[in-house]
Amino acid sequence: MRGFWHDTVEFFPILMNGVALTIVVTIGSLLLSTVLGLVWAMMRVSGIKVLSTISASVINVIRGIPIIVLLFYLYFVMPDLGVTLSALQAAILGLGIAYSAYQAENFRAGIEAIDKGQVEAAQSIGMGWWLTMRRVVLPQAVRIVLPPYGNVMIMMLKDSSQASTITVAELALQGKLIASSTFKNTNVFTLVALMYLTMSIPLILLVRHFEKRVGKK
């Protein structure tokens, strides 16, 4: 750990560039996975056979492919099919798709935890499927879904490091580049680990807050 403070001062600005990209990848793929996950979950509970079958198949396919392979596919194979994505686009798309399967299962569990009587009450005052979802089911499901959603956020923050495998210079890749050019492995990777941890702590506190709120209701 000799010269740790000295190295910190020297490498911190470069690593912060990585942090910026890490945050972009995390937020981008979080938004995408949330929207996609909601779509899969809605299809799954729609009661329409075709839609729920498609949704179940998509979720299983996504779950069965490692994130890293999905990223390689988007970044290296898609150009052969005529679709060229930047590394950043491919990273957000890949992580977003990969995590949408977990989000969908989480959302579905939340939706199915709502008492059937709630849906019947909504129907009995003339609400259609979509209005019932929007006004009655989803607002109640959100409370149930939030704690696991917070955990997914933490996992996505850490898994954004997989974007390094397709050349996105986020925190992990910046660290690796500095380490391999300076041979200061210990100091650099300690610094990288501390920076991930620093970003995780607010999320961990957020999850705890969500859990307390659910416990109260």
Binding site: D115, G117, S124, G126, Q140
Partner: protein, 243 residues
């Protein structure tokens, strides 16, 4: 106003309705009584399309009840339902529960819906609970909110599915009182109930259902005081604890 013609309904192998024919006229209070599992609640749930039926026909004001047709929304806004377990929306206040249908289904102006919502809560004796959330209320209070929610749709009829069965005995009276007032005001009501006193005093007609068929029907006092069919006699002996 509500007409059932030879309605059949099965859950899998189990046939719960075996040819129900009945009608409910405007302003009439009809009580459906009978043992548990006889199909009473299923009849109500078929009338507003919460459940589908296999054969026969149900119509409301001449409109065929088909839960998969768009017309089901029109039927449900005319025929409200009050559930055994209240089924209030726990994430909304009492007043929001009441105005939910008028605002979001009937798209009434906010001020109009809120004003009527408050008036209805006053009518069921819960004006001061408008801003409370349902879980903070007693069962009896929740059920009265549910009745206000049903009334807020300005329905032509209300279906009551064992409205007092989930209540502590001392809370039953308040709910029955509200229902009695509704009946006096001329509301068309179909009530599945085990409250024989209410049926005798308030209902115009009683249907006794057992094993998916109407065993006996007629004027409330006649059926409940001098039942003709042995199954009705047996059932009444049991519920009135005369055994």
């Amino acid at each position: 106003m509500i007409a059932l013609t030879d309605v059949h309904k099965s859950f899998g192998e189990n046939e719960v309705l075996k040819g129900i024919s009945a009608s409910v006229h405007k302003g009439e209070v009809v009580c459906i009584v009978g043992p548990s599992g006889s199909g009473k609640s299923t009849i109500l749930r078929c009338i507003n399309g919460l459940e589908s039926y296999d054969r026969g026909e149900i119509s409301v004001e001449g409109l065929k009840v088909d839960r998969d047709a768009p017309s089901i929304v029109a039927i449900r806004t005319q025929v409200s339902m009050v559930f055994q377990r209240f089924n209030l929306f726990p994430h909304r206040t009492v007043l929001e529960n009441v105005v939910e249908g008028p605002l979001y289904v009937k798209k009434e102006p906010r001020a109009v819906a809120l004003e009527r919502g408050r008036a209805l809560l006053a009518e069921v004796g819960l004006a001061e609970k408008a801003d409370a959330h349902p879980p903070q209320l007693s069962g009896g209070q929740q059920q009265r909110v549910a009745i206000a929610r049903a009334l807020a749709m300005q329905p032509k009829a209300i279906l009551f599915d064992e409205p007092t069965s989930a209540l502590d005995p001392e809370l039953v009276g308040d709910v029955l009182g509200v229902m009695r007032k509704l009946a006096d005001d001329g509301m068309t009501m179909v009530v599945v109930t085990h409250e024989m006193g209410f049926a005798r005093d308030v209902a115009d007609r009683v249907l006794f259902i057992d094993d998916g068929v109407i065993v006996e029907q007629g004027q409330a006092k006649a059926v409940l005081n001098q039942p003709q069919h042995p199954r009705t006699q047996d059932f009444l002996r049991r519920v009135l604890h005369l055994l």
